[in-house]
C-alpha cells in the first residue's frame, strides 16, 4: 500500500477530479479526516491476499443477463426535460463548454 500520506495537494487534486472545489479550510479539514481514515485502513495490508480473486459480484452464479433487441417506449420529450434546470427548443441548456 502506498505509504505516502494524503496531503493537501492530493486533496485538491482529488477534489478537482470529483468536480468539487474546496475552500482552504475545507481542504485542511478533509485532509486530516481522510488521513485518519486511511491510516486505519492500512490494516488491510495485514491480510494475505496472494492468489485470492477479487469479488466484483458477490453472488458468483450471476452471469449472462441479457435483454432482447426489442424497442420499448421512451419518455416523451416533455418528460425528459421536465426536471431540467434549463432547457430550450427541446434541448438541455448548459453554460458553454470551453
Amino acid at each position: 500500500m502506498n505509504k505516502e500520506s494524503i496531503n493537501e495537494e492530493v486533496v485538491r487534486h482529488i477534489a478537482a477530479l470529483s468536480r468539487l472545489s474546496l475552500s482552504d479550510t475545507d481542504v485542511k479539514k478533509y485532509q486530516s479526516q481522510l488521513k485518519n481514515i486511511l491510516d486505519y485502513i492500512e490494516q488491510l495490508d495485514e491480510v494475505n491476499t496472494e492468489d485470492i480473486p477479487p469479488t466484483t459480484h458477490v453472488l458468483s452464479s450471476m452471469k449472462n443477463v441479457f435483454r432482447e433487441d426489442v424497442a420499448k417506449d421512451s419518455l416523451s420529450q416533455e418528460e425528459v426535460l421536465d426536471n431540467a434546470p434549463s432547457r430550450r427548443n427541446g434541448f438541455f441548456r448548459v453554460p458553454k463548454v470551453i
Binding site: 502506498n2 474546496l22 479526516q33 485518519n36 469479488t55 453554460p95
Partner: protein, 475 residues
Amino acid sequence: MEKAYTNINDFRDWINGQDRPLSELSKIMIDRVKSINDDINSFISVDEDLISGCAAALEKQDPRGALWGVPVAVKDNICIKGRLTTCASHILDGFRPPYNATVIEKLDKAAALLFGRANMDEFAFGSSCETSCYGPTRNPKDLSCIPGGSSGGSAAAVAGGQVLAAIGSDTGGSIRQPASMCGIVSIKPTYGRVSRYGLIAFASSLDQIGPLARNVEDCAALLEIIAGYDEKDSTSVDKEVPKYTESLGKDVKGLTIGIPAEYFGEGMDKEVRSKVEDAVNLMKKLGAVIKNISLPHTRYAVSCYYIIAPAEASSNLARYDGVHYGLRSEACDDMVEMYTATRNEGFGAEVKRRILLGTYSLSSGYYDAYYLKALKVRTRISDDFKKAFEECDCILTPTSPSTAFELGEKMDDPLKMYLSDIYTIPANLAGIPAISLPCGEDRKGLPVGLQLMAGPFAEDVLIRVAHAFESNSVK
C-alpha cells in the same frame, strides 16, 4: 386506534371494520403522522393531497390488495413516480422521478398507502440520520438520541407509531442498525433478492432494499411482497420467492446457531453484551444447538467497506451535476464552474468526504493498493461465512455495539461513526441476508438489537429463528 397501529393484522381488522371511505380514513392517518412528526422529524414532508388522492383511488379496489390502506413509509431514496424523491439532499431539490421503483410497483399492487420522504442520512451515507439536509430525526424512545441511520426516518416512523411498516435501504447496516436502535424488526435480504431498480444508488454491489416493521410477521409479509426477480435489474436473481410467512410459528429444535467470537470482543457495551447473552441462553432453552465459531476476517470489514462503498458511491454520485435534473448553481460562466459550484452547494460534508475517499482509492496509482486489495479482502470475508454456514444454520450477534447515542455525539469523528457499523457491514460484503430484532433494553430504556445472519437466500431460516425468539422472549 392505538391497537390498530400495533401490527398489520390489527390494522387490517380496524380498517375492514370501518364504514368511512378510505380517503377520509387517510386524513386521520395523515394527521397522526404529522402530529408525531413534530417531535421526531421522521418525514421530510407529508403531501396530504397526494396521499389522500391515492387513498381515494384505492377505494373501489376489489378484491383488496394484501396491504390495502396500510400506511407504509418509504425512504427518500426510493423513487415514487411524480413525487419528490431527494435522498435528503439539496442537490436533488425539486426532483420528481417519471417512474416508479420496482418495489413501489409491487407495493402499489398490494394497495399500500405510501408515505414517501422518510428522512435519512444524505444519500444514505451515515449511521445516525444526522446528515440529512432537512435536520436529524429523533429516536422516539428518547428524543435526545439518534434513531440510527441511514434509514432513521423509516425506523422512527414505525417505532413512533406513525406507520405500520416501512421500506429502507441497507448498504452497511442502514436498515438493521436503526431498527436495533428504535426497537423494531428489519430484514436486509440476500443481495439480488429484491430489485434495486429505482433505489437511488449508494454502493451498487452492497445496496439492498428491505422492510422494517413492529414484528417479525409483518416484516416477513412485506418481504414476500417486495422480493422477486426484475428484468430491469441485471443483478436481481431469478429465484422463486418462498412464502416467508410459512416460516412463522416453527420451533428451533436442532438448529445450530453459531456465535462468532470476533463479534463479542472489546468495544461492545456491557448492557448490549448482557442482553445478547440472554438471547443466546433463550435459544438454548428453545432447543437450538449453540456452537462457537470464528469469522477471522471480521476486524477488516470496516476498512474493506470504507474503500469499496465510497469508491462505488463516488461514481454513482457523479451524475449529480446540475445538467439534467435537481439543483443547478446560478450565474456560472462555464461548465466546470457549474459542476463544482452545484456540487459544492448541493452536497453536505459527509457526502463530500466519501466522494473524496472513493475517488482517491480509485485514482491512478492507488487502485491496486486500495480498491483491488479491498475486493480481495472481501473474498476472504465471504469465504469466512461460507465456511461457517457449513457448520451452522445461522449466526447470532449483536446488531450494534451500543444503544442509541446522543445527537451530535459522534459527528466530529467520522472514523468513530464508521466503526459503529462493525457488526452489520460483513453481511453486506458477503451478500448474505440478516435480520435485526429487539432483545431488551438498557438501563436508560434504549432498545438493544439482536442480529441473525444466514446463508444466501435463507431468509426463511432467519424468519423462523427470529419468530421463535420473539414469541418466547419476555415483553
